[in-house]
C-alpha cells in the first residue's frame, strides 16, 4: 500500500495508469474510469497530470478487497489510441513471461 505521504510525492512524466494484482487470484489488473478493475490494459483510466495520478491511486487504494498493491505505471499511447506498457516490467506483467516454457515432447 502506498502511504499518503508517498502519494503526495508522486510525479509522473507522461501518460500513466494505476495497476495492481487482483486479490482472489493475483491476476494483473488496471483501474478503470468506472472505478473498477480490468485485466485489459486498454480498459484502463489514463492520467496525464500528477494530481490526477494521485487522485486515481487514492481512489484505487481504497478498494483493498478488489486488488492488492496498487501503484502508478507508465504507458505509451500509440497512433489510433492504442495503449502500450511503458517499460519492460509492465510489458511482462501485461503479456506474460518472455520465456517459452518447455513442454515435454
Amino acid at each position: 500500500m502506498t502511504s499518503p505521504l508517498e502519494q503526495k510525492k508522486i510525479r509522473i512524466t507522461g501518460p500513466s495508469v494505476v495497476t495492481a494484482n487482483r486479490t482472489w487470484d493475483g491476476a494483473v489488473v488496471y483501474r478503470t474510469a468506472q472505478k473498477g478493475w480490468s485485466t485489459e490494459l486498454s480498459d484502463s483510466a489514463i492520467v496525464s497530470t500528477s494530481d490526477d495520478a494521485r487522485a486515481l491511486l487514492a481512489e484505487a487504494a481504497a478498494d483493498d478487497v478488489g486488488a492488492v498493491g496498487p501503484y502508478i505505471a507508465p504507458v505509451e499511447l500509440k497512433d489510433g489510441g492504442k495503449v502500450k506498457p511503458g517499460n519492460l516490467r509492465e510489458q511482462i506483467r501485461a503479456k506474460g513471461v518472455t520465456i517459452d516454457l518447455q513442454v515435454p515432447a
Partner: protein, 551 residues
C-alpha cells in the same frame, strides 16, 4: 525416507484450517492486505508480478514418490502444469490463486508436505547435502541432525520472531554440497581426535547486498550440545540484532561488526550460563530421530554388472553415465543426478508429467525416493548399477538425461524479471541463451566444471557472488544491464567472485560469457585445470582484457 510423527501431522493440519479461515476473511474484506500479508508469508505465499507465488518446503531435500506425485497434482490442478525447484530445497508454484491456496495446502498436508519455514523472519527450513545417507565416506547421515534442529526450531518463540530470516545448512562430507559457508549458520559434521562425532560450527555467511563467507566460530561442538550451542548463538543475535535497519539485521552484519572473536566470546559466555541444561540431547532423543529415517534393503550386487559392461559400447549412455552418475556408499549402487537444465529450457522447472513419470521411475529403480539439491537438479539416491542403462533410456524419453551436470549449461538462475517483483533484469532468458550457445555437450564436457549463477537483483537468490561466473542484473536508465564476476565458488573453499569490469547490456551477455570461456581455454595450462583454478592462478586481468579490448 523420514516418517513424520502424529504431532507434526496435527500441527500441519491445524495450520491448514487456520489459513483457510484467514483466506476467507481476506477475501470478504474482513482482513486488509496489511493485516493479511504476514499471515500469508507464514504460509509460503508471496505476491509476484503475475500472481501469487507459493513456496513449499522439501526438508533436507528428501521426497517420497507419493509426495512428488502430489506436487505434480498441485502443479496440474492449481497452477499451470509445472513447478520450479529453488536453491534452498523448496519448490515454487508461480500461478496459484489465493482462493484455491487452502485446498492446495490441504492436498499437500495429506502427504506431510507444508510451507512452514519457507518465508518470513524466522528459522527457514534446514538444508542439507542432497546425497545425505548415501554418499561414500560420509561421517553419518546429516539429516538426523537437520531433523533434530527442525523439531527444536519449528514455531519455537526464540526462532519465530527473529530480526530477519535465518538459514542453517548441514554437511557431513569432505566435499560440501550444501554450500554451508553462505548460510547464517553452517554445520560440518566430523570426528574429533577421540573419535566422537560433532560439528565444526560456522557463522555469519550470506549473500545479498553485503555478502560474507561464514567464519568458524567453534571447531568442535559435541553432537549432543549442538542445539544448546545454536540457541546460544541465537540469543546473542537476538540481543544485538539490529531490528531497526532491514539491510543490517542479518547475523552476518553482526558478526562482521563485532568481529568473530568477540562474537564467539559472547556466545561462549551465553552457552556457559545455559550449562548442560534442558537442551543437551540425550542418546535416546538422537536415536529416536535416527530410527525414523529408514534405508532401503540393499541387495548384495556386483561392482560391475554385465548390463553396465554391455552398455559401455553406447557412447550416449557412457557420456551420460560419466557426467550424471556418482559413487554410492553401497557396492553395486549409484546416485543418479537428473539435470533440470535442458538446452533452451528455464533452469529448475519440472512439468507435472515429468514429476509423475519420475515418481514411477523412482518406485521402480530407487526404492521410491527422490532428492532435491541446491543446484536446482534432482537425484535418485539408490539406483542399482545394473538398472542404469534402462533408466537412461527412460530419462532420455522424458528430457531428463541432459548430460550437463556441473558443466557450463548447468546454470543456477533466479526467476528474475519474468516473475519477480523485486527484479531489475531478467535471468531466465539469459540462462536459456547460454544453454543454446553451449548446446554441444561434448564441447561443454571439454570445458569442464564451470558453474554459472544468475540473479536478477542484489538479493542474490541465484547465488551470483559464488558462481564461477556470476551474472547480476542491474538497471541503467530503464535498460537491463549485467555485472559479471569470475572466480567465485560455493564449496568448502567458498569465496566471492571478482568484478571484471563495467556492466554490459542484455544483448551482449552471452557474447561476453563466450569470450570468458574462450579466454579460459586459451589460458589454462592443462585440460584438467578448472576454470576457477585458472582464474585463481592468473587473476581477472587477462579475462578483463579479452572481454573489454573490443568493446
Amino acid at each position: 525416507m523420514y516418517a513424520y510423527d502424529e504431532l507434526d501431522r496435527t500441527l500441519i493440519n491445524e495450520r491448514v484450517s487456520e489459513f483457510r479461515d484467514q483466506v476467507k476473511r481476506r477475501l470478504s474484506g474482513e482482513l486488509t492486505e496489511d493485516e493479511f500479508k504476514i499471515l500469508r508469508l507464514q504460509n509460503g505465499v508471496y505476491l509476484q508480478l503475475h500472481a501469487y507465488m507459493f513456496r513449499v518446503a522439501i526438508p533436507y531435500g528428501t521426497l517420497s514418490t507419493k509426495q512428488l506425485r502430489r506436487l505434480a497434482h498441485v502443479a496440474r490442478r492449481y497452477d499451470r502444469g509445472y513447478g520450479h525447484f529453488t536453491t534452498r530445497q523448496n519448490i515454487q508454484f508461480n500461478w496459484i490463486k489465493l482462493a484455491e491456496l487452502p485446498d492446495a495446502l490441504a492436498d499437500l498436508a495429506e502427504v506431510g508436505i507444508h510451507a512452514m519455514q519457507t518465508s518470513g523472519n524466522n528459522m527457514r527450513n534446514v538444508t542439507s547435502d542432497q546425497w545425505a545417507g548415501v554418499a561414500p565416506g560420509e561421517i553419518e547421515d546429516p539429516r538426523i541432525w537437520s531433523e533434530l534442529i527442525r523439531q527444536h526450531t519449528t514455531l519455537h518463540p526464540e526462532f519465530s520472531f527473529l530480526p530477519r530470516k535465518f538459514k542453517i545448512a548441514i554437511t557431513a562430507s569432505e566435499h560440501d554440497r550444501a554450500a554451508i559457508k553462505i548460510h547464517d549458520i553452517g554445520l560440518r559434521l566430523h570426528k574429533n581426535a577421540d573419535g566422537e562425532t560433532g560439528f565444526e560450527v560456522l557463522v555469519g555467511g550470506g549473500l545479498g547486498r553485503t555478502p560474507f563467507i561464514a567464519k568458524t566460530i567453534k571447531p568442535f561442538v559435541h553432537g549432543r550440545d549442538v542445539l544448546s550451542y545454536i540457541e546460544a548463538i541465537l540469543r546473542v543475535y537476538n540481543q544485538y540484532g539490529r531490528r531497526d535497519n532491514i539491510y543490517k539485521a542479518r547475523i552476518k552484519i553482526l558478526v562482521h561488526e563485532l568481529g568473530i572473536e568477540k562474537f564467539a566470546k559472547e556466545v561462549d559466555e551465553e552457552w556457559r550460563q545455559m550449562g548442560d541444561s534442558e537442551l543437551r540431547l540425550d542418546h535416546r532423543a538422537i536415536e529416536e530421530v535416527r530410527s525414523r529415517f529408514s534405508y532401503p534393503a540393499y541387495e548384495k550386487l556386483p561392482h560391475m554388472p554385465d548390463e553396465l559392461k554391455q552398455a559401455a559400447h553406447d557412447p550416449l549412455f557412457e557420456r551420460w553415465r560419466k557426467n550424471s552418475v556418482s559413487a554410492h556408499k553401497v557396492q553395486g549402487y549409484s546416485i543418479v543426478t537428473l539435470s533440470l537444465k535442458p538446452v533452451g529450457g528455464p533452469p529448475g522447472d519440472a512439468t507435472a508429467e515429468q514429476m509423475d513419470a519420475l515418481a514411477d521411475l523412482a518406485d521402480k529403480y530407487s526404492f521410491g525416493e527422490i532428492r532435491v539439491g541446491h543446484e536446482q537438479n534432482l537425484a535418485l539416491p539408490h539406483v542399482a548399477k545394473r538398472d542404469l542403462p534402462a533408466l537412461f533410456k527412460a530419462f532420455d524419453r522424458l528430457g531428463l538425461a541432459t548430460p550437463n551436470v556441473n558443466l557450463v549449461t548447468d546454470i543456477i538462475a533466479c526467476p528474475g524479471l519474468d516473475y519477480c517483483s523485486l527484479a531489475n533484469a531478467r535471468s531466465i532468458p539469459i540462462a536459456q541463451e547460454l544453454t543454446r550457445r553451449f548446446a554441444n555437450h561434448d564441447t561443454a564436457g571439454l570445458i569442464g566444471r564451470l558453474h554459472i549463477n544468475i540473479s536478477g537483483c542484489i538479493n542474490a537468490c541465484g547465488h551470483h557472488h559464488v558462481g564461477h561466473i556470476g551474472i547480476l542484473g542491474v538497471e541503467k536508465n530503464g535498460e537491463e544491464f549485467y555485472q559479471i564476476t569470475i572466480g567465485g565458488r560455493a564449496d568448502e573453499n567458498a569465496q566471492m567472485g571478482t568484478l571484471i569490469g563495467p556492466a554490459v547490456p542484455y544483448a551482449e551477455v552471452a557474447d561476453v560469457i563466450e569470450d570468458i570461456v574462450e579466454a579460459y581455454l586459451a589460458l589454462r595450462d592443462r585440460p584438467e585445470e578448472l576454470f576457477v583454478d585458472t582464474v585463481k592462478r592468473l587473476g581477472v586481468e587477462p579475462f578483463r582484457e579479452r572481454v573489454y579490448a573490443t568493446r
